[in-house]
């Protein structure tokens, strides 16, 4: 009996000591900054620290790499090209003593690590924009063979828009396109829009960068009647990479909107203006506001009143008493 008890106690002690902390296989990572915009001359170099924080409960083995992109959607989401072998990838390096590109490194649970990115542009580098994403991915070189299903991997990124130029303000060519009002109570004749004067209107527009260098969409959405400003709203300043388009939105990230007042009747000029450091661009449309709904309402009211008056003014048909008597006699 003693032996059994001793064996039991020994077993408990063994398993107690042998157990280690077990965490759910979660993932959490943050990166700062999410965007790096650099304007650099050939022959110069810079360093930028990217801070990553392991928010998961366990240690994370990660790999950092640079992935180029040349395209993006109209919301500013890059279309990554991981197979690209752009020659300018050699401009980038990591100044960390241990961490290197494409080699795994470990960040302890809850710990913070810094990636010291260096960018050295050679003297003979072509004057152009280069776009890339610093990607930090989870690293696993094997899957548990007893595991049936999907092993997930995660990647987080930070975008880099690099302008290599000798000029402080390289040429930018922005064009505002597809500038149109959106509303149900709206019609168009020629180049003129006609809209109801009390119905809210929204406006959508894109900006296309015909140039080779990224530009920022700083500007205003303006409504004027004659030369008098009626409404003004800022354009959200976002980056438009070369040879791409972006949707223009207001500073809340929403389409531009305008609710005319009852008195704002007649032609109004709706203008979008963008000013970069070395060029301006604008696009305008003209909308004639008319009290359409008000007039329709008045016409309906008048018609109802006229019909009501006509109905109430009709005299009821009276049957003569003599006629009733005749009918009674006949019966």
């Amino acid at each position: 009996m003693k032996n059994i008890l001793l064996l039991f106690l020994l077993s408990i002690c063994f398993f107690s000591l042998a157990t280690k902390n077990v965490y759910a296989a979660d993932y959490g990572l943050s990166v700062t900054p999410p965007l790096l915009r650099v304007h650099i001359k050939p022959g110069k170099s810079i360093t930028q620290v990217f801070t990553i924080n392991n928010l998961s409960q366990g240690n994370q083995t990660l790999v950092a790499r640079i992935v180029p992109f040349t395209e993006a959607d109209d919301q500013g989401n890059p279309v990554l090209n991981p197979k690209s072998t752009a020659p300018w990838l050699g401009y980038f390096g990591l100044a960390n003593s241990i961490i290197k590109f494409n080699e795994p490194f470990t960040v302890a649970a809850g710990a913070t690590e810094q990636l010291i990115l260096s960018l050295a542009v050679p003297d003979n580098a072509p004057l152009e924009d280069v776009y890339a994403t610093l990607m930090i991915s989870t690293y696993a070189n094997s899957i548990d063979q007893g595991f049936q299903g999907a092993q997930l991997a995660a990647t987080i990124g930070s975008n880099m828009l690099i302008t290599i130029s000798s000029a402080a303000f390289p040429d930018t060519i922005l064009k505002i396109e597809n500038f149109t009002p959106q509303a149900n109570s709206l019609f168009k004749i020629g180049n003129l829009y006609f809209a109801d004067s009390i119905t809210p209107l929204t406006f959508t527009a894109d900006v296309h960068n015909d140039g080779n260098f990224a530009a920022e969409t700083k500007g205003v959405f303006r409504i004027t009647q004659g030369n008098t400003p009626v409404y003004l709203e800022g354009i959200l300043p976002v980056n438009v990479i070369g040879k791409s388009s972006r949707q223009l939105v207001n500073t809340d990230g929403q389409p531009f909107s305008f609710t005319p007042s009852l008195g704002q009747i007649g032609p109004h000029q709706i203008t979008l203006e963008i000013k970069t450091d070395n060029s301006n661009t604008s696009n305008s449309i003209t909308i004639v506001f008319l009290p359409l709904k008000l007039l329709i309402g008045l016409i309906v009211v008048v018609l109802i009143i006229i019909i009501s008056v006509k109905i109430t003014s009709v005299k009821p048909n009276h049957i003569p008493e003599s006629g009733i008597d005749n009918q009674k006699q006949h019966l």
């Binding site: 943050s30 650099v38 890059p78 595991f147 997930l152 991997a153 709203e233 976002v238 990230g253």
Partner: protein, 254 residues
Amino acid sequence: MTKKIKLDPKNIKYYLITFVFTVSVFTIFSSSTALADDLKSPAFEIQMSTINITGGDKSSASYKLSDTVGQTFQGQFNSAGYVILAGFQYINTLTPFTFKISNLAINFGSLVPGTPSLLSNTLSVTTGSAFGYSVKTIEDHPLQISNGSTTIADTACDLATPCLPTDANVWSDNTRYGFGYNMAGTDVDTTDFVNANYFRPFPVQNINNPVVVMSRSGIATSSAATVSYKLNIPGSQAAGTYQNSIQYIAIPSF
């Protein structure tokens, strides 16, 4: 003593026409242009990029601006040879971009033919100082035994409602086999994932491009979406352990 005024019913039409005419004339001609005084103030001019006057939010009934206009960097660029802007100028705080996955191991264990197995996890994103983001996904290959010869195909959904990596559709028939996923939650395209019966197959590396599963144009403070993974095998499926790797890629907008 009050005196009652009676309208002659014969003239009611003339009264109405006069009333309508008066209202119309008043509406059209008496309206004056509403001007906002602030538009003439110096603050009106600050929206353009390099005028070094002020910063911050401005608003009135007739205009709304938010700018971060600061010093022009021409001098700095000419002297140092570079200018670095980290983060977004129009978002005040440099808070980090964060991506979380609640569970990295989608382990179905033993499977019963004809009985779908369902597992789920949660993707969470905070944009911090970024203005928008997208999360894309791709798998390395369909679920397969380690020797690679036998696979469980990615779902094509129901026969009458076929789905694609970019187009979810109904998958409720238990005689339709494969592996797929459904999405629900914040920043998910609910026009595609209409309800819990709508599934997509994962795009396959080297065949398809990664597809967007979450996206937002604007600041996300606590966006979270649930991914439901569905696996259904036929009775003829060869015994073995089937595995693959699914990658989620979270990138902020620029």
